[in-house]
Symmetry: C2
Subunit: 138 residues, 2 copies
Amino acid sequence: MNTTAKNEQNTIFSQGDKANPDYFTGNAWLNLLVNESEFNSVIGNVTFEAGARNNWHTHPGGQILIVTDGTGYYQEKDKPIQLIQRGDVVKIPADVKHWHGASVDSPLTHIAITASTPKGAVDWLERVTDEEYNSYKE
Amino acid sequence: MNTTAKNEQNTIFSQGDKANPDYFTGNAWLNLLVNESEFNSVIGNVTFEAGARNNWHTHPGGQILIVTDGTGYYQEKDKPIQLIQRGDVVKIPADVKHWHGASVDSPLTHIAITASTPKGAVDWLERVTDEEYNSYKE
């Protein structure tokens, strides 16, 4: 399986830096596009290798994900995993506990638009276990 | 010149609806992705045919453009036109008078992230004249 070639095919941005391993399981990269306070949001391009995902987390001001390539997973607490793919827009309300990442066999690239608030932009929680990650049902 | 084929090659979103001709010169389309008040921003995918552009305008809370395909122009009042292309991120501060659109010979697709404020998201002004549009110098 040549996931690298697949991922590069439609890449708009360079991968950027390795994502913080405290908050990500597997290999993921972050290209920070906007972080100026005057725009009241943090915008980044995030690339996940197949199998990679971030920890459970919440956003005090919510978050929008725009999937630009690949196939991945999005899960809110106490709900089943949803499949997400190129062209999907995920609207995550404030304070909803969730995680996102690549699917088992495909990388995922998304733009993440996160509101900056007086309480910050994100609160990181515990890792997504393999059991949780592998619970996707078609 | 087959601009349609070029434009469709890397399209992430469908074109959506024809943009309001009161505020656009030439053919442009808007696919509104996010417009819920809880996210405090309006996010749309905008596609411009070669030669098309929007009117001069300002944003009370600023705007971010993420260019996902093609080549176009961005101009702030009293400055020269800047060439923008796939992978560019344009950061437009609040109240800066500007316009954007496709270049003379290529379509342009960008995601526009516009802050919603108590004063609204956009104030439309006069059309960009052909003389202004054709003032780009390499």
